[in-house]
Point group: C2
Chain length 246, copies 2
């Protein structure tokens, strides 16, 4: 089996960040996926309320998960970057809970939920690690909740940018202070509980104040510390505790 191919597996790469995977574990993870799916920018991968029994590992590109309310308003729940597990709710319900849309062209590798059965039986350490990551994601949602519930528009925007930046740093440790922002201002608004008009105004204000520099979709953050201070951002996904794993 080609070693090159193997380390390129997005799920292996992701979990290998937290523990040193054994060869058997790598093989088991690879066996979870067989297909590859590519999606064009703007297209949906799964649609709310439809049937689905697969989750997906994001290989390349950005996705987001969203719901729409009765009035037509949309809430973006999560923005996914390479290595993320998407549509995990298929493990708890057979109907899709939230729509997954491609922000950029993207490649995802489906993981039929039935394959997890064997993984949990034979690879308890991976099972425990997945559980730990799910809990970490829980905490990430708590941070979002705090942001939406108790901070103003500028702090929310800052927190969003920092979240994207810090997650990008994991796979691209060069460029520690700049990122390509593939979201539209309308997307940001829907992620932050604001309107696109207000997002635009606040971005302008932050640009004028020198907090961020924008050229097209490229964003540079001259003083990351200042933004962290302003937003109350906490980096979380960088490391998780693994001492209780089998």
């Amino acid at each position: 089996m080609d070693v090159q191919l193997e380390t390129a597996h997005p799920l292996v790469a992701r979990l290998d960040r937290y523990v040193a995977l054994t060869q058997a574990e790598r093989l088991a993870l690879r066996a979870l996926t067989t297909d590859r799916v590519t999606i064009k920018s703007g297209r949906t991968l799964v649609v709310e309320a439809r049937q689905s029994d697969s989750m997906f590992v994001l290989r390349t590109g950005w996705l987001h998960t969203s719901t729409v309310l009765k009035g037509g308003a949309r809430q973006i729940l999560r923005i996914h970057q390479p290595g993320d597990l998407v549509n995990t709710s298929c493990l708890a319900w057979s109907r899709v809970v939230a729509t997954v849309t491609a922000v950029t062209a993207a490649e995802v590798w489906p993981v039929p939920r039935a394959r997890l059965t064997g993984l949990f039986i034979r690879h308890q350490r991976l099972a425990a690690l997945l559980y730990g990551l799910s809990i970490a994601e829980n905490v990430a949602f708590c941070d979002r909740l705090k942001s939406l519930g108790r901070t103003d528009a500028e702090a929310r925007l800052a927190a969003l940018l920092l979240d994207l930046l810090f997650r990008q740093r994991i796979t691209a440790p060069d460029k520690p202070d700049e990122l390509e922002l593939f979201l539209t201002q309308s997307d940001m608004a829907d992620a932050l509980g604001l309107t696109k008009v207000h997002v635009n105004r606040v971005l302008k204000k932050m640009t004028d104040e020198g907090l961020i520099e924008r050229t097209g979709r490229h964003v540079r953050i001259p003083d990351v510390g200042k933004l962290i201070d302003l937003s109350g951002f906490v980096d979380r996904h960088t490391e998780v505790c693994t001492d209780w794993l089998p």
Copy 2:
């Protein structure tokens, strides 16, 4: 071993709702807990940023999980009812991520995280079930996010009441339209991203409109359907999909 005692174990009771537990599984779950801790109303169980390596099963009473921001504002992240797992973040970090406070007098049973190791090794079905529940909780957070990000104060309040009501229904199927609301209006405000003054006003408005009836801390909801309609509430925890479990 006393059967009475066994079925009274809050974790056994909780998981037994989703799958029919075997005797071995019940014993394994019981072995997770040895101690009992009682907390007085208003006291904290764990405090943000302190060290902790235990989660807790809530046996009786209500708790909530919260964080405070730099300015002193507080965000309540989750309100816990009997059967809930609390402080699960101890599986991902050794430092406590959010303060847990007793809303009423409460009894919790500690689960040291080291004990989960054996559970994941020997009881893969329970491991998978825990994973599924963690994912379900994730989706519950998504619902909260949608509520805070894209609905007005009345809808948020309605969603909060319905969430508490539906979770109470699981353990108390009598009383399908009334509940004892142990939260102060200040608590509700901090859970919903509002101020206590505004919560008071909206509660009054809802009372005047006949949407809810209040006598002290007792709340009755004459027309649950109307509230559901108004809030976009979705019942989630009632059932989860278990067909992929080992």
